[in-house]
Amino acid sequence: MTRVRIPPVLRTQVNGQKEVEAAGSTVGEVMHDLIARYPAMGEQLMAADGGLHRFVNVYLNGQDVRYMQLLETPVAERDALIILPAMAGGR
């Protein structure tokens, strides 16, 4: 299982948890397993074409998966994924 850090804006979709576990051998499989467990997150993370929304960044062990193999990036047991949608608040 891979640890997935949930951003504050999506925590209501996972019963307030900061981190959840999901299974898969690639970033895409982990994301799909995550959405299978918490279906409300689907639309917020993935675009209609099956790729990640462009306003959602995913980091595997601190590295942006867009500069690796995107959803095909291999994930090992102890890896950590961070989901990071853009946020604007400042006032």
Binding site: V9, Y59, G62, L84, A88, G90, R91
Partner: protein
């Protein structure tokens, strides 16, 4: 010749020898010298003293008075000089510290900026990383805050305190009671006042040496170029995606670094966008999320201290950029989770296809410039 060529003497004895024509050496580091030295002294830092003393005092029979900060380094140097054949070497016991404590005269190196003697900045001036030069740089610096709100408040206070010479503030809003849970640059008796004026009042009270430029307007495509031109660093304390993208694109055009932060409830994010050195905001997020995925603080709420901490980190990064210190957060996004009490970091990259700073965007910009040039000539 005396049995021991080295002797420790008091400042009074040193003055007497100097008046009689003894050579005077200061064996400290550059930054200590810049904070003040004795009149007529020559600086020979400890690592150079043995190699360079012959150039400064060719006559080894001439008495030499040598001092440092407290008397330890000068005593070691005195023995080194004796070994080189100097016949009379006097180390000032207690060094320049004791000299100053006795109220004896000393001076600053020529061309020292006035700010170097300003006691307001004493804690900066003694740090080698800032010192008189750094303080003078801060005095010359111009920093623009977009927003005098939750993020801007602490940064405005600390950059004013630090002696940043010119602080611009862009904000069209007025102070509201609901702001005061976190916007500490304002005050309850200023509810209804323009935020720029309220912030300027606080800054004047803290450091009247700072020039505050108030821009009572909303940052838009139409005025952004005019607003940011001439500033050395921009601090992004806005709260809408639209403003953040507008600012980003203009900052890339003007090659001005932007210290970026955003907050949400118990979490903050921070990075520094230095155009063409690291990624820009559009490299990170080319398009904004739909509103339901990115509610602002007025809807989602924010713990008051969270923008406070992030705003202070922005001020810290701005000072690092202005003084060329350390490793600014360029190409790195810092994520602070206040509830966990953890900082984490992810790596950001420049997107070669970025619509703002990528290769294509630069080519388009060059074309526009050429077209402008062609129509003008």
């Amino acid at each position: 010749m005396r049995a021991d060529p080295v002797r420790e003497i008091s400042p009074a004895q040193a003055q007497e020898l100097i008046d009689k024509g003894a050579a005077l050496l200061d064996t400290r580091e550059q930054n200590e010298w810049r904070a003040g030295h004795l009149a007529g002294a020559t600086l020979l830092p400890p690592v150079e003293v043995a190699a360079r003393v012959q150039d400064v005092v060719p006559d080894r029979s001439r008495p030499v008075v040598i001092y440092c900060a407290a008397g330890a380094r000068s005593l070691r140097a005195a023995y080194a000089l004796a070994q080189l054949g100097y016949q009379e070497v006097y180390s000032v016991a207690g060094g320049i510290g004791r000299w100053k404590a006795e109220g004896r005269p000393w001076e600053l190196p020529a061309n020292t900026p006035a700010v170097a003697t300003n006691p307001r900045y004493a804690r900066h001036l003694v740090m080698p990383e800032v010192g008189p030069e750094g303080q003078a740089k801060l005095q010359q610096a111009k920093v623009l805050f977009i927003g005098a709100g939750g993020l801007g408040s602490p940064g405005l206070l600390y950059l004013a305190a630090a002696g940043v010479g010119t602080i611009g503030i862009v904000d069209f809003d007025v102070v509201d009671l609901s702001n005061l849970q976190r916007q500490v640059v304002h005050a309850e008796n200023r509810i209804g006042m323009k935020k720029t004026e309220s912030a300027a009042m606080t800054i004047r009270a803290l450091n009247p040496e700072v020039k505050v430029v108030q821009h009572v307007e909303m940052l838009t495509e139409d005025n952004v170029d005019q607003l940011i031109a001439g500033y050395d660093v921009v601090i992004d304390g806005t709260d809408t995606f639209e403003t953040r993208y507008t600012l980003n694109d203009a900052a890339v055009r003007h090659a001005i670094p932007v210290v970026h932060a955003s907050v949400f409830r118990f979490e903050g994010q921070l990075t520094v966008f230095v155009p063409f050195e690291g990624p820009c905001y559009r490299c990170l997020y080319p398009t904004p999320p739909p509103p339901e995925l990115a509610p602002g603080c007025s809807i989602a709420g924010v713990l008051g201290v969270v923008p406070g901490v992030m705003g202070l980190l922005q001020a810290t990064e701005a000072i690092k950029v202005l003084l060329g210190l350390g490793d600014p957060l360029v190409g790195r996004l810092l994520i602070w989770d206040a509830l966990d009490g953890t900082f984490s970091e992810v790596k950001l990259r420049r997107d070669p296809n970025c619509p703002a700073c990528g290769v294509g965007a630069l080519a388009r910009q060059a074309q526009t410039a050429d077209a402008t040039f062609a129509s003008a000539s």
